[in-house]
Amino acid sequence: MPLTADVTERLTADAHQIMERYPVARSALLPMLHLVQSEEGYISPDGIAFCARTLDLTPAEVAAVATFYTQFKRRPNGTYTVGVCTNTLCAVMGGDAIFETLEKNLGSGHDETTGDGTITLERVECNAGCDYAPVVMVNWEFFDNQTPGSAKAIVDKLRAGEAVVPTRGAAKVHTFKEASRVLAGFLDGHENEGVGAGPASLQGTLLARREGWTAPDPGAGTTPVDGTKQKGQS
């Protein structure tokens, strides 16, 4: 859809808020491209023109940046991006099997969107959740410790129009456009939802507490204390 005058006016106000964050306006480009996706669902030609006009760049300069980054989509994205981590660790732990299951189930491959426009399936790179492998990301929210069955249940729900709840994230997964608006730097009020840390993140914290292990006492200066030997001097 072409950007109407109303929409352009609203986006311009948002863009100016973004630009104010930075000493140099061009730094606003990545957030503005996220903003374009929050409206258009992808980096549309109108969106490129809008960024170029607002930042005094050429459309070619904007397109050159947009195409560098995998989160910026060249075609209309589904309402939900389902990203299966298939980097080595997740792939080996089961990510490859999960991806194959979803590919078959959805009838679409990497970077393809289902006919109903609900789901864009992707292979994603390591998403910094390796201790929860295999990991699936839905609109960049964490779904930890997945199996082919649990991943299929997620896409079934999404296609049935039901909400899905990330393992570590907001109370539910928001749409691609809504998530894109957050990535443009506009907080949506969901930051206090969800857990602080999942079970894997807490393994060391809880083990130390059970064992009574603590960091050295600051008063003790350089004397090794309490079971903490100075490595390399023993």
Binding site: R21, P23, R26, P31, H34, V65, F68, Y69, T70, Q71, G83, N87, T88, L89, M93, G94, D96, E125, C126, A128, G129, C130, D131, Y132, A133, N139, W140, E141, T147, G169, V182, L183, A184, G185, L187, D188, E191, G194, G196, A197, A200, S201, L202, Q203, G204, T205, L207, A208, E211, W213, T214, P216, P218, A220, G221, Q230, K231, G232, Q233, S234
Partner: protein
């Protein structure tokens, strides 16, 4: 006596609303900031220098020394940029820290900015973690409301504003100069060094770029003292760090310990390798660090010892694979990652990673010949030390190290005309296939 865990950054991650300012303050948060603001900035810098803290983002450069490279103030702006791009395969410590306790990073960023004379700091967060971005935006707002950010912080006369910026999916943007280009609204491609960021960084102004965990460690150093920090770890690798265990271990997760702990000790804490299997290979610090095997269980995980044993401490991302895992498959997948993420700026990496993936694919399928191993090593030789940035160097690590330790397994693929392993046996849900 064995090494024990030292929860500092991870100490209260299990408290309700661990991310809130209140929880942080209840656990001593922002006391170090008050102490720092009462000290001359030079003394704060000196404390970090004396602590021996080395960068936690992979390269291990001494943090205080990096700060001291900034030229004398000339009246113009200077910047702190926190690197929260965390994308090195296996690395998963900064993201849980930011999710559970973003205030620790905010306090560290304020103290660091005070020490280096910065009034506008940036946190560059990878874009693929929406909820972490929410938490960081919320943390900045909470800190501002409490007077820890903004003008005249806690009546000290010091002003600081922090902007949290989301990237858009590109591993190379973790490389500090590519990150700066990306933050300036460009394609994320590395810059020629020198000039180093300390001299000409963001907007060509003096800039300090540090990893999340480096900056998050600063409040503890200022609050409890450089001597306290040095009482942990080894002489040249002082202090503590978060060790991230993933893969075929019974209790994968985050374990905060003094540098110099061994994998054997960590595995004991994590319940060992999964039942019925043995350790086969592991990365000490992410996919860009040469792999280790069972022979390296007792290598102290500090910068010097890991280096002497032929790898790098990197980001302490311990990815652990048991005997069901095909090393050729693992290495091919990492290589495809480097090929995908190569920014294309320099020929050795752009072309080299492409050819490495082609040759490995052939080998994994049991085609090709033994000469392909020599070819792989030859291509690696042409990348290592000739690439424009460390991404290219890193791409060679899994290949050269796996050929060194597992040459026979490559040959077994050729002998069998295919992969001798059943991938379903390495998954964590092998029952589902039974």
């Amino acid at each position: 006596m064995t090494t024990t865990l030292t929860p500092i950054l991870t100490a209260f991650w299990d408290e309700p609303h661990s991310w809130s300012r209140k929880t942080y303050e209840r656990n001593g948060g922002y006391e170090a900031l008050r102490k720092a603001l009462a000290m001359p900035a030079a003394d704060v810098l000196a404390a970090v220098k004396d602590s021996g803290l080395r960068g936690r983002g992979g390269a291990g450069f001494p943090t205080g020394l990096k700060w001291s490279f900034l030229p004398k103030p000339d009246g113009g702006p200077r910047y702190l940029v926190v690197n929260a791009d965390e994308s090195e395969p296996g690395t998963c410590k900064d993201i849980p820290l930011l999710m559970a306790s973003p205030q620790t990073l905010i306090e560290g960023a304020i103290i660091t900015s005070y020490a280096i004379g910065c009034h506008k700091a940036f946190i560059y967060l990878r874009g693929e973690v929406v909820h972490v971005y929410r938490r960081l935006l919320g943390a900045v707002a909470e800190a501002k409301a409490a007077g820890y950010l903004g003008e005249n912080i806690l009546g000290s006369g010091f002003d600081l504003d922090i902007v949290v910026h989301a990237g858009a999916g590109a591993y190379i943007c973790g490389e500090e100069t590519a990150l700066l280009d990306s933050l300036e609204g460009r394609r994320g491609q590395p810059r020629l060094k020198p000039p180093f960021p300390a001299v000409a960084g963001l907007y060509a102004r003096p800039t300090v770029v540090n990893n999340v965990e480096s900056i998050a460690s600063v409040p503890s150093i200022v609050g409890r003292g450089a001597g306290w920090f040095k009482s942990m770890g080894t002489d040249r690798s002082s202090g503590f760090g978060i060790f991230s265990l993933s893969g075929h271990v019974n209790r994968p997760g985050q374990y905060e310990a003094p540098l110099g702990i061994t994998l054997r000790e960590l595995l004991a804490m994590a319940g060992g390798i999964r039942r019925g299997h043995e350790l086969k290979f592991w990365t000490p610090g992410g996919s860009s660090t040469p792999i280790f095997t069972g022979k390296h269980l007792d290598v102290p995980l500090d910068f010097e010892s890991v280096g002497a044993a032929g790898s790098m401490l990197g980001t302490r991302a311990l990815q652990i694979f048991d005997d069901t895992t095909c090393v050729v498959r693992a290495v091919l997948r990492w290589t495809e990652f480097y090929k995908h993420e190569s920014c294309g700026k320099c020929t050795p990496c752009r072309e080299g990673t492409y050819w490495l993936a082609q040759v490995l694919k052939r080998l994994e399928a049991g085609q090709g010949s033994e000469e392909d191993l020599a070819k792989l090593l030859d291509i690696c030789d042409n990348i290592l030390g000739r690439a424009f940035c460390a991404l290219g160097d890193g791409a060679t690590s899994p290949i050269t190290s796996s050929i060194q330790h597992f040459r026979d397994e490559y040959l077994a693929h050729l002998a069998q005309g295919g992969c001798p392993f059943d991938p379903s046996r390495s998954t964590l849900f092998e029952e589902a296939f039974a």
